[in-house]
Amino acid sequence: MSKYILKRLLTLIPTLLAVIFIVYFIMDLTPGDPGTLILGERASQEEIDAKNEELGYNKPLPVRYVNYVADLVHGDMGNSWKSGRPVMGEIIARLPVTVTLAVGAILIGTVIGILVGILSAVKQYSFLDFSATAIAMALASFPGFWIGMMLILLFSLYLGWLPSFGGGDLKHYILPWITTACPFLASQMRMTRTSMLEVIRMDYIRTARAKGQRESKIIMQHALRNALLPVVTILGINFGGLLGGTVTIETVFTLPGVGSLIIEAIRTKDVPIVTGATVMLASFFAILMLIVDVLYAYIDPRIKSRYERK
């Protein structure tokens, strides 16, 4: 098992090297030089040139790439071109907001999604199943940021129950949580339903029923455990996606998270921030996927034996 984990972590290195190169390459195509973007159009050409020199921007792309990787190996992600502060610090400062948003949304989405998914599968073709499927379909179809706007209009403006923007105490997160959870809840519910429907028809479920096992125990212990694999996959993929993909929702609720840091950096061609954030998010995502795969082994002993053989 530990050998398997180590092997997976090692394959992360070439992936990250390639990812950094892709980001460097794309950012290099972006029009404008950082000197002009930082100092503004009115700065003199000498000042701009000096700034570009200082940032190392006048060196060719491969040189900048190699320098960056060399610094990264030493744990140095460089300084933001715009603020001059270390990239690591800038990202970490924004992380609590994004993590709070992602974790809360994942909790809401997973709990409600799995519960409704199980109920839908157990009572297939019932009114509850039909309406849950319809609502899930709608939640997945409307843009999350628009759902957020509608929630603001309803709960902040007309009812006045909740604040509509800004970070702060957890009350500020209730609407963003619900908004972020919507598409995730929908996919989780559909996946649980499909997966449960498949498992419920298995022979071992019939056997459990035949021996007189209680229905609740059959569902929770026999069926759910076997239906959980795809559900865990969706959980991992969505959590990874949420860490970098909440930028539109952060915009609606004016939350200063990693997403808004990245979009500001892309706009101002702040290459160190964009690259640093990408490296961090890509590593997070790879590690999450690894955790998902390891979790498989605990859910399904058959998979565990396969890892150990490798």
Binding site: T30, P143, W146, M149, V247, T251, K269, A282
Partner: protein
């Protein structure tokens, strides 16, 4: 003997006909198809429904009018008719959605079928490259590509296509793999059929079903993503009518004039919903085993 013979009429039903009949039995799928057809009608007849001018003409006297007889969906902060902007915005949103998926499926499909059909080294090289692209967060990749290429409709389309190619490669590869292992492919090989003929005559017809399903749903996702990009103020620039851009412009007025943001959002959601319902119905129709 005459009275004992029973005439058996064998009517050969085409597979496509079967699928179509099963699709029509699914009420929600038909609903999706009808809604989508109506939206496509709006796309085609936009100029007949309302002139493009009224989507662009600014009229300060008429600004921020509530929905009524003169302006069905009201007017925005420049006095432009929101209904006209939604009607003409449909062209941009659907062009980006359908275009990105069509080109993406072609390019991704080519790579995916090569990977799936030949397997081995080619497969693992393509797989590695795709995994690398996929480990970059999607929104980050799309936004930086749009910035690099420049803000325009075509560039948004290209950026989304490039960023989504790995997904299409995966979908097509999986579909091809599920077919390549089958006995009839083995049989065709044994008969000495050329690879090209096997791909065109046997593999593609049998693998196309799930690909069409995924493509239908992908158009919806693309429309949502494109709306997100213009909502962030990137991509298609004002005054071009586009649904996501309308939400971005309307954001600051939404507390006083909610209708500015209500209607474009419904347009986006309804289109994506119709596509998802159609995709779901198609999947059930293509594979009746899944249904029960």
């Amino acid at each position: 003997m005459g009275e004992n013979t029973v005439k058996v009429k064998i009517k050969k039903k085409s597979q496509a006909g079967d699928i179509w009949r099963r699709f029509l039995k699914n009420k929600t799928a038909v609903f999706g198809l009808i809604v989508f057809s109506l939206i496509m009608l709006v796309v085609l007849l936009a100029d007949v429904i309302v002139s493009y001018d009224s989507a662009l003409t600014q009229n300060i006297m008429d600004r921020l009018q509530a929905p009524g007889a003169a302006h069905w969906f009201g007017t925005d902060n420049f006095g432009r008719d929101i209904f006209a902007r939604i009607v003409h915005g449909s062209r941009n949103s659907l062009l980006v959605g359908i275009g990105a998926v069509a080109i993406g499926i072609t390019v991704g499909g080519l790579l995916g079928s090569v990977a799936g059909f030949y397997g081995g080294k080619i497969d693992s090289v393509i797989g590695r490259i795709m995994d690398t692209i996929m480990s970059i967060p999607l929104m980050l990749l799309v936004l930086s590509l749009v910035t690099a290429l420049g803000n325009s409709l075509i560039n948004v389309l290209l950026a989304m296509m490039i960023a989504n190619i790995p997904q299409y490669v995966r979908i097509v590869r999986a579909a091809i793999l599920s077919v390549v292992g089958q006995d009839y492919i083995e049989a065709a090989r044994a008969c000495g059929t050329s690879n090209l003929k096997i791909i065109v005559k046997h593999v593609i017809p049998n693998a196309i079903g799930p690909i069409i399903v995924q493509a239908t749903m992908a158009v919806g996702t693309m429309i949502l993503n494109a709306a997100g990009i213009s909502f962030l103020g990137m991509g298609i620039q004002p005054p071009t009518p586009e649904w996501g851009a309308m939400l971005n412009e309307g954001k600051q007025f939404m507390t006083m004039y909610p209708y500015i943001v209500v209607f474009p959002g419904i347009a986006i959601g309804l289109t994506a919903l119709a596509l998802n319902l159609m995709g779901d119905g198609l999947r059930d129709a293509l594979d009746p085993k899944l249904k029960d």
